[in-house]
Symmetry: C2
């Protein structure tokens, strides 16, 4: 799928890039990639980065080359895109329901027989639908039971429910019980190290009990997986988890930047920007040509990547900046300042391509193939 409007060509200087567009700083990106894989906080762990953050096959490939065992995604349509892109181990860290979705996932197992394809369940009806689809297509899938370790969003509530669901899975030869999905989403952005650590200590207690419950019944639990950019060092240190799923680490955003830094963790740096043009200027107020359709505001607006200016307002296609001090650049009509996204996942999902730069020169364009893969 070729983007219809390409914001840049290889060799362009950054100030030649059409706006608004996503700019990836390749030096920072590569540093983040290395920092994770070399960190003692993932030592001995399987690392399965979450591709819902970036939705980009090239980034997933680089994560695999750096040592990831596979990727996570959230949607069957995302799994399809990454499998087609050559990623051969994809876990859908989410429940799916309905004939169309379960059939689509089972079909992927047929189409990519050498790939590992997994999905989560938290209800016997999901298991039965998956089994019916797999039997019809002679497909097999890896199954992870999602345990609710605190978020209250999905997952079975306790060890007896895990064991019950595992027994149901074992009834179906086409479904391979692999272990537990024990991701604590809402813990990722708890600001203090203490809160994040406490949350994961509690999660690991629940996950460990569920794993022990499965093993005590002679059931399988090879993998306990979970952990995001905000907490993975604590999953690693728990003695329970053996796989972590950080996603945002490789690009970062304002929201993760607000977390209290834990010195045991790698120091990831923002590697993704939005470039926008000053399309109207009135002294200490400038209006940029990037708004709600160029970045999401659920975790606050994108922020200037420089001093002296603040966001006064964001509307569909505009962001108004006002000068708040004598530091920082003068901004004039036609200038192209950089912003840092508030929350990368829904921001990247608004764009068709990432403009990749090194030393302020465009060196590549990476399509965001899974942009809009909602299904």
């Amino acid at each position: 799928m070729k983007p219809r409007w390409t914001p840049a060509r290889v060799g362009d200087a950054l100030h030649e890039v059409d706006t608004p567009a996503l700019i990836l700083d390749l030096d920072r990106f590569e540093a983040n990639l290395e920092r994770l894989m070399r960190s003692s906080t993932v030592r001995g762990m399987r690392v399965r980065p979450h591709a819902k953050s970036h939705k980009c096959i090239e980034i997933a490939r680089r994560q695999m080359e750096a040592g990831a065992v596979g990727i996570c995604c959230q949607k069957v349509s995302e799994a399809e895109i990454f499998l087609a892109g050559g990623i051969d181990d994809v876990l859908v860290t989410n429940e799916i329901i309905g004939k169309r979705k379960v059939t689509a996932l089972a079909s992927l197992a047929v189409r990519y027989p050498k790939a590992k394809i997994g999905v989560c369940v938290d209800d016997v009806r999901q298991v039965r639908q998956l089994a019916t689809a797999c039997r019809a297509l002679a497909a097999e899938l890896d199954i992870y039971i999602e345990l609710d370790v605190g978020h209250g969003r999905a997952g079975v509530p306790d060890t007896p429910a895990v064991v019950d669901l595992a027994r149901e899975i074992k009834l179906h030869k086409c479904l391979r019980l692999r272990g537990l999905q024990a991701y604590y989403g809402s813990a990722q952005h708890r600001r203090s190290v203490r809160e994040r650590r406490q949350a994961i200590t509690a999660a690991a207690g629940l996950a460990g009990a569920a794993r022990d419950g499965l093993l005590a019944e002679g059931l399988t639990c090879d993998i306990v997986t979970g952990g995001g950019t905000g907490t993975f060092p604590y999953e690693t240190g728990s003695g329970v988890y053996n796989e972590v799923q950080p996603g945002s680490y490789v690009l970062m955003d304002i929201d993760y930047g607000k977390n209290e830094f834990d010195p045991i963790a790698p120091a990831f740096e923002p590697a993704l920007y939005i470039i926008a043009s000053v399309m109207s200027a009135r002294g200490d107020r400038v209006t940029l040509d990037a708004g709600l359709k160029a970045f999401s505001t659920d975790s606050g607006p994108a922020m200037p990547a420089f001093e002296g200016w603040q966001v006064r307002g964001v509307s569909d296609e505009h962001t108004v900046l006002i000068r708040v001090g004598s530091d920082g650049p003068a901004l004039a009509l036609g200038d192209k300042p950089l912003l840092i996204p508030g929350h990368i996942d829904p921001t990247i999902n608004l764009h068709d391509v990432i403009v990749v730069s090194r030393n302020d020169v465009v060196i590549d364009l990476w399509p965001i193939e899974a942009r809009g893969a909602l299904f």
Copy 2:
């Protein structure tokens, strides 16, 4: 551009639609379309609906068939898509700057010589860039001077600045001065009728003075255009404006629904929904498979289109609903409830297709051709 994953086929019942997806209720849509065009609140006015809301050629075509003089859009790349779709009068209600954008717009005037193509300016440098591009391509463009009537986002501040800019435009034969863009964006969602009416009275005063200033200098001002879904009856009643630009009226959303209703205005009803599946259910808590990538939350989350349930949380791919009373439906795993978007413009921009329904049956699929047209 064909969507890669189609959520429905014509003839499907709504409960067969893959989720999450946009559902348009065609009866309501048609009623909104008629209500606007038949309303006394647009009598004698040129109606130029804003296509930034829907980004869909089929909707623009229906607006033209219903009597619109043309459409508005915000981006050159949107203008390109609507012109290619057969809409022959497109006003970019926004400033553009930079060689690439001005050249792209001038090229459209060459490619569509019978179309009317307009753009806004608020700075002499935009005018000169546009003139240079038009001269190079032997193209002509319609030019509207944007006047800041209160929003403080773009536009020149006062009548002398309007006159100065008009004199500059007149120097360039390839640029046709058409009039004033006098849109008061931030007035659209002032909740009380009194506030909205006051804001537009003030705006019309400024626009009228600017128009008179142009005419007194022998300069052109055939069109004074502005007004959105929240205020267009007041622009119509002002005696100054002769064109209005409502966009959201045809689909509506939660945010516009919160405005105090003015009995002089047409009673538009929500016509666009998000259909989502219950992918996890735990008693009085259900989790839907639609989150920040299926609807925007800048004006609050999408809300259930039924009683008895409230949104407890929204994350990238999930919305958690909790039961808040005995009214309303029971929701079970696999059910597909409808939500009403908080803000349609950035919500539609997340999807590739609108599933069109009548009496809960899918009767058409309309591509959202300008989805992601950021440039």
